[in-house]
Every structure is written in C-alpha cells, then in structure tokens.
C-alpha cells in the first residue's frame, strides 16, 4: 500500500477487480479442459462481456484443417436497437477481409454513430487461429486494464483453442482411425464372404460332378441290370457278326453260357444250319451296301438252342448309334408260348363259331355313333345275308317279318336314344319264305356300343308249343283219371237220393195197395219221392257244370260257393275214406275274376290228394281242413290242410312235377296241372309241411288278375272230358 500512495481509493477498487478478473481468466483453461472450441469461446465471451461491460463481442475462427469455420456474436441486452448479428458480421467482414497481420491493434468502427470503440484481438501468435472483436459504447474503451484483460483473455483463448483443436483433431483422427478400422474390417469380412462363396461354389461343383459321376455309374449299372434282367434275349454283335454281349435271358433261352459264346459268330450260335448261309449273305450285303431289310423291324424266325432244338423267335435288330465300325443289338424273344396261344385263340374262335352254329346264336356289335355293325358268321347265316354285304339297318330290315318291322325300328330308335339294355323277340321272314323266331338281347357297353346276341328260337318256339300241347293232354288225362276216381263218388252221390226215391215209391205203392188204402201216407211218400228226385237232379246238374263241354270262361265268381260245390261232390268220397272235413270259409271273401270250372278242378284235386294222403293213417283222426281267406295285395287264398303222411323235405320241389307221386296209385299228374291252372290265373300254388303231421296245400290268386281274359285261358285251355272222346 505504501508503495502506491498516490492511488485513489477508486483506483484501488478498480485494480482489485482487475486482478480478480485476471485470476478468473487464468482459471478458464481449467474449465475448458476437454471441451471443444465452441465451448471455449462461449465461456470466454461470457467472461469478457461480464468483466468489460461490452456491448458486443464477436469471435471468428479461421478455417483450420478438418474443422468448420465458426463465428459467434453476442451483444449486451441492455442496449437499445442494435444491428443484427448478421449485419455486424457483414460489417466486420469488410474490416477483416485483409490479411490479419495488417490488422491495426485498435480500430474505430465505422458502424453506428462513432461512439462505439472496437478492439480486434488476433487469436494465435499471428492471428492464425482467428480474431476476437470486442466493442463498447465508450470513448475510453479500452482502458489500460481492459486492454490487459483482453490480451490475457486472447492468449488464454489461443491456448484453450489450440488444446481444444488438438483434442478435437485427436478425436477426429481416432474416429477416422476407428472408421478406417471398421471399413477395413468390413472389407475383410466381404473378402471372406467372397472367399467362402467361392469355396461353396467349388464344393457344389465338386458335388455335382460327383453326383453326375454317380448318376452315370448308376445309369450304367441300371442299363446293365436292364440288360441282365430283361426277359428278352439281348445279344450284341460287332461288324464282323461276332457276339460281344449275351445277356442272362439269352443264356437261359439258348442254353449257352456267356463266356462260351463271346467272340463267336452269331450265325453259328443261334441260327439253324439251314438258315446260316442266308444270314451271312444278308449281313455281308448290309456291310457292303448299307441296305438292310431286317433293321428296325420285328421278324419271326426259327432259332436253335445249344441242344439243337429249334423254336420260334421274334427278332428285332437295331444298329448301335456309335462311331466306328457298325455294331448291332438283337432282341430275341421265345414266342413258342405266344404261337401256341394264338393257335389256341384260333381254335377257340373256331369252337365259338361252331358253338354259335350249333346253338343258333349269332353275336353282333353296333356302334351307335357311326352305325357300324359287326356280325358273327352265324348271324349272317341266321339272316341269310351274304357274308360280304355291307350291313345296314335297311338291309337287316328286309329280313324282318313285315308285321314286326315297326317294332324293330322302334327298338332301334329307342336304343339310340336311351341306350339301355335290349330284349326283344322278333320274327324274320327270309327270302325263301321261311319264318324264323329270333330272340335278341343286347347290352350297352361304354355308353356308345351295343354288344349282343341273336338266338334263333324257332325250334324252341315249336317245342314250347309242343310242350304246351303235351301239358294240355296231361291235364286231360289227369281229368279223366280224377273222373275215374270220381265215378264212384258220383254214383254214391246219386245213389243216395235214388235210394230215397225207390224206398218212398215202394212204400207209396204198398200204402195204396192196403185195404183201406192209406192215402195220406201215400201222398206223403209221393211228395218225398219228388223231393229226392229233385235232389238227384241237382247232383247231376252239378256234375254237368263241372264236366260239360264248355270253353273256359272268365267270370266274377264266389270262391266260397265254388268250394262248397266241390265239397258237395267230394263229401261221400271223403266219408268213405273216413275223413272228417272241417270248413272255414271266410265271410268277407271278395269276388274273384277267374275261370270257375278250372278253379274247382284244382280244389277237387287238392281235396282228393288230401284224402288219399290220409288213407293209410290209422293212429290219429283223419282231419281235413279247407279254408278260404282274403290274402294280402287284393288276393284270395284257399288252403287244404291234411293230417296225412306228408312228404320228405327234399321232395317238396318235385311235388308239382308231372308224374311225380308219393302215392302208390294214381299218376301224380294232378298237382302239376293244378299248378299250371293257378299260374294261368297269375297265382301261386305251394305246399308246406304242417307243425304236426301232414301238409297244407295252398293257392293264392289275385282277385282281378291283369290281362286275364277268356282268350288267355282259351289259348292254353284244358280240354274238357268230351274232347277225349
């Protein structure tokens, strides 16, 4: 203090503050440590603004390597309107455009009103780092202490900036290094990838090569296997005709081992001596001219085995498509079996033709789309059409009986439309005037072709007619037979009332002859005589109804009534056989449309059979039950149940055959005829064994059989007894 007595108190304070500020400025580098240039500058500018009460401060850093130029402007807030930072920068640019070395240490600014003092402080020894511009609206700026602070601050800033720059540079270098390392690493990785890819590709190629090699090998193996396992003989020969390959099938077929024949001439091995010369000539011809008749074709020839036996083979020769002298592969197949099969087929065809001929059946096919008709030999024969004729429906139509032609044409039309199976019977009228009956059956195959057969049934038709006639005759015999048996019971039936008549008449005479005559008694007996006479007449009438010469007539009839009549006729016969007849005739039986007499014959037959079946039965009642009842589906059923000897189960199917009988007497025709009568009524007649002893015979007929007319039964009518006379 004593050293500076002349200093005023104000001055002392000023100095004190100045020293504090200096200390602060000197402490700044510690604050800046590690910061970047902009941090350095911001701190510095804040400190200077505060210390020197500046109105404006600007720092501009020159563009140093790797760093962007930086300019920071800051102005005091207390000031009124100030030029914008941009304007200030522009103004400063004017001043600073020149070389910084030429900058005067102190400049009065041109901007503003001139009261503004501006100080330029270079950063770095030569201003190479940049410049600080400080301005205050004071004429005395900068004072001595202020200038000192500014220059210290500039120095400090230079040092700080250098360090910051250095640091920043280091950072940048480190970063660049890092980047380079990263880039290099990436490059290495890429190269590595590339390398790997190349390796992979190479491996793939190698694998492929291996696979191809294996494929090739496998294909060779397979080819060898094919050749080895082929069922055909495969023999290859070189251009001289020497065997170069002889597969196992060939070994097997010809009876040579491969090693025995390799190198030998083919002709010497498998061609019979008689053909060898021809083979050699052909081979030589080919070699000389290239013409071959045998290449690429299938030939049949004779081959010879090791044991000398000859056999037929099919041979195909191909040239092996390789460079060099020609070589050939021969495929040979033993066709002994095939030839045999072919012969068998031919024989079978011959059999079929013969069978068609014998059975008078011809077969045909018809392709609907094209109307292509194919006939078997026999069919031409049946139709008497020339074998070479072009088959058309028109031509076939000329053989159809005029009355059947429309049916024929209708069937063709329907078949064409509906393509369903066909069954028709047609008459043919042949050129020689003969009429034939044919049965045609055809099935559609694949929806577009009919396959069928035509059978000449002319003979069958006539034999059917003959059979029908025979059956009628049988029926006739049966009726005569049953009549014969009936004669006794008819007599019995008539004798009863006759007996009454005779007795009554005798009594009457006796009464009248008495003295005095018993007139009342005589009258009574005469009355009874008349009644018995009528009774006898009724019996005769019933018989006449049953046996009168009368065409069968279909009429509405009461089956119960008809049954009662038959019972009345059979009763004495049954009684004689000590048969107890029970009747269960349904009250609600519907009316039946049928031939009454024919049905009565059936019922009579059934009763007679039942009675006879019980004739040897002595250990049980000879019970016979006749029953009528409505049957389902608008039918009526009549059954006759006996307690007779029955029949063996195996005989059930034969019962209805003509001449089959379990009885010692009688012809056994009755049931067969009965059945045909019932069938003509569209009904059914059957026998079933009872739970107990005996059998029940039943028939069931529709009440109103469709299509049953008098004509129907007329055609197959059973001749009446008088026909036989």
């Amino acid at each position: 203090m004593e050293v500076l007595p002349e200093l005023a108190t104000g001055d002392v304070k000023h100095l004190q503050r100045c020293i504090n500020d200096l200390v602060s400025l000197l402490a700044l580098p510690a604050v800046w440590s590690g910061g970047d240039p902009s941090q350095v500058l911001h701190t510095l500018m804040d400190a200077l603004m505060r210390m020197l009460r500046l109105d404006l401060i600007s720092v501009r850093l020159t563009n140093s390597v790797g760093e962007t130029p930086l300019e920071i402007v800051r102005s005091a807030e207390r000031r009124g309107p100030m030029p914008s930072a941009h304007e200030i920068c522009e103004a400063l640019n004017q001043c600073l455009i020149n070389d910084s070395r030429k900058w005067p240490p102190l400049l009065r600014s041109l901007m503003g009103n001139g009261d503004v003092s501006i100080v330029l402080l270079p950063l770095g020894l030569q201003g190479e780092l940049g410049v600080i511009v400080a301005a205050a609206e004071r004429a005395d700026f900068p004072q001595q202490t202020e200038a000192l602070l500014l220059s210290v601050a500039a120095n400090q800033a230079s040092i700080g900036l250098q360090e910051a720059r250095l640091l920043s540079h280091q950072k940048r270098v480190a970063s660049e290094l890092d980047q380079r390392v990263v880039q290099r690493t990436a490059e290495l990785a890429a190269a590595n990838q590339e390398l790997k890819k190349e390796l992979d590709e190479r491996r793939l190629i190698e694998e492929k090569l291996g696979q191809e090699e294996r494929e090739l090998k496998r294909s060779e193996v397979r080819k060898a296997a094919i050749v080895d396992s082929a069922l055909d003989c495969i023999v290859t020969i070189d251009h001289e005709g020497r065997i170069t390959e002889f597969n196992p099938a060939a070994e097997h077929t010809f009876g040579y081992r491969r090693d025995e024949v390799l190198g030998r001439h083919l002709a010497d091995v498998i061609i019979p001596p008689s053909l060898r010369e021809k083979h050699r000539e052909g081979f030589a011809h080919y070699l000389a001219t290239g013409e071959a008749r045998v290449l690429g074709k299938r030939l049949e020839m004779t081959a010879v085995r090791a044991n000398g036996s000859e056999f037929p083979v099919e041979l195909a020769i191909t040239r092996i498509p390789l460079e060099g002298p020609p070589s050939f592969t021969g495929y040979l197949r033993d066709i002994t079996e095939r030839k045999r099969a072919r012969q068998e087929l031919l024989r079978s065809e011959a059999f079929l033709a013969e069978a068609q001929h014998l059975s008078r059946i011809g077969s045909f096919s018809w392709r609907i789309q094209t109307d292509e008709i194919t006939w078997s030999e026999q069919l031409y024969r049946i139709f008497q059409i020339d074998r070479d004729a072009q088959l058309t429906f028109e031509l076939i139509g000329t053989r159809i009986h005029p009355e059947d032609l429309s049916i024929f044409q209708e069937h063709i039309g329907r078949s064409r439309r509906e393509r369903s199976d066909v069954q028709i019977e047609l008459r043919l009228q042949l050129p020689d005037g003969a009429v034939k009956y044919v049965h045609v059956a055809a099935h559609i195959r694949g929806g577009h072709e009919y396959i069928g057969a035509v059978q000449d049934v002319t003979e069958r038709r006539s034999s059917e007619e003959a059979l029908s006639k025979a059956r009628s005759e049988l029926a006739h015999v049966a009726r005569v037979t049953s009549l014969g048996v009936l004669t006794a019971s008819v007599a019995h039936e008539v004798n009863q009332p006759l007996s009454g008549i005779v007795t009554n008449a005798s009594t009457c005479l006796r009464m009248l002859a008495a003295d005095p005559p018993n007139v009342d008694g005589a009258r009574e007996t005469a009355r009874r005589t008349i009644r018995d006479g009528n009774r006898a007449s009724e019996v005769v009438t019933r018989l006449r109804a049953l046996y009168a010469k009368k065409d069968p007539t279909i009429e509405s009839m009461d089956l119960n009534e008809a049954t009662r009549e038959v019972i009345a006729l059979s009763l004495s016969d049954l009684q004689r056989n000590r048969v107890t007849l029970r009747q269960e005739l349904a009250d609600d039986l519907p009316v039946v449309t049928a031939d009454r007499v024919q049905l009565q014959q059936v019922i009579l037959n059934l009763l007679r059979n039942a009675s006879e079946a019980m004739s040897v039965v002595d250990d049980r009642p000879r019970d016979l039950l006749i029953r009528t009842e409505p049957d389902e589906n608008d039918r009526v059923r009549l059954s006759v149940r006996d307690a007779g000897i029955g029949f063996e189960p195996q005989a059930a199917g034969k019962l209805f055959e003509a001449f089959y009988t379990t009885k010692n007497e009688g012809m056994g025709i009755g049931l067969s005829v009965s059945r045909s009568i019932i069938e003509r009524h569209h009904g059914r007649l059957w026998a079933s064994p009872n739970d107990g002893p005996g059998v029940t015979f039943s028939f069931s007929i529709p009440c109103k059989p469709e299509g049953l007319t008098s004509d129907d039964t007329h055609a197959s009518r059973i001749p009446s007894v008088s026909d036989a006379a």
């Binding site: 019995h492 009332p497 006759l498 007996s499 009454g500 008549i501 009464m511 009644r531 107890t580």
Partner: protein, 132 residues
C-alpha cells in the same frame, strides 16, 4: 200182412236205422212200418250208442260210410260190448267187394242203394224168420 198191421204198436219189434243221409232216414221208417216194424232213426253211430234203444233194437239197418264212426266200426264196437244185434248194411257205394267181407264178419245182408222194398223185406225176414 193183415195180421202184422193189426199188431199193436207196443208189440211191434224195433228196427233202428242209422244213416247220415236224410232221405234214407225219412223214407225207411214208413216202409218198415208197412212191414209191421217199429222204427227209430239216428244220423250217426255215436247218436245210436248214446241212446237207450240199443237193448230194444232187434235189427240194425246201418249205413257203411258215415262221418265219424263208420258202420263197420259200430259193428266191431257192439261185438266188443257183447251187444250183438243183427245188422243189415246199406251203402251208396258201388264197390261190390265189401259185401262178402261184411257178411263174413257177421252181417245179415249188405244192400246197395238204391235197393228194392222186396230186397229189404227179404233181409228182414232172414233176421226175424231165419227158418223161412
């Protein structure tokens, strides 16, 4: 004849007729009456066996074929019961072979329907007047 006619009804001998045919049952009793017999009719053998006439019946006119028990059956039955009654068989059958068989078994006669009054009378006489 006259004498027989004058015989009182109570004294008349009983002839039983068994036949399932009604006309026989109606006509025969009058004829038998003319012959001086009392007559009873039955439609079956069973009916006769169930009646109280067996002991009084001096002669049976019996049909052969009947439902149930037949004439010959009844004949056997009566024989077994030791109630033998002279039997005249009548039948509508035409089988003549039955007659000798039946007579061999003890029947008085076998008449085939229609039979005459005299044939019947002869048969009856052979029962009641065997010496004639």
């Amino acid at each position: 004849m006259v004498l027989r006619q004058e015989r009182r009804a109570a004294e008349r001998l009983l002839v039983s007729v068994i036949d399932d045919d009604e006309s026989v049952r109606e006509s025969l009793p009058d004829l038998l009456g003319e012959f001086g017999f009392a007559a009873r009719t039955f439609s079956s053998a069973e009916e006769f066996l169930a009646s109280d006439c067996i002991d009084q019946t001096r002669c049976l006119i019996l049909d052969i074929a009947m439902p149930g028990m037949s004439g010959p059956d009844l004949q056997r039955k009566l024989k077994l019961r030791e109630q033998e009654i002279p039997i005249i068989f009548i039948t509508a059958s035409t089988d003549k072979a039955v007659r000798p068989q039946l007579i061999e078994r003890g029947a008085v006669e076998c008449l085939f329907k229609p039979f005459s009054d005299t044939a019947m009378l002869e048969a009856l006489n052979s029962v009641f007047h065997p010496t004639q």
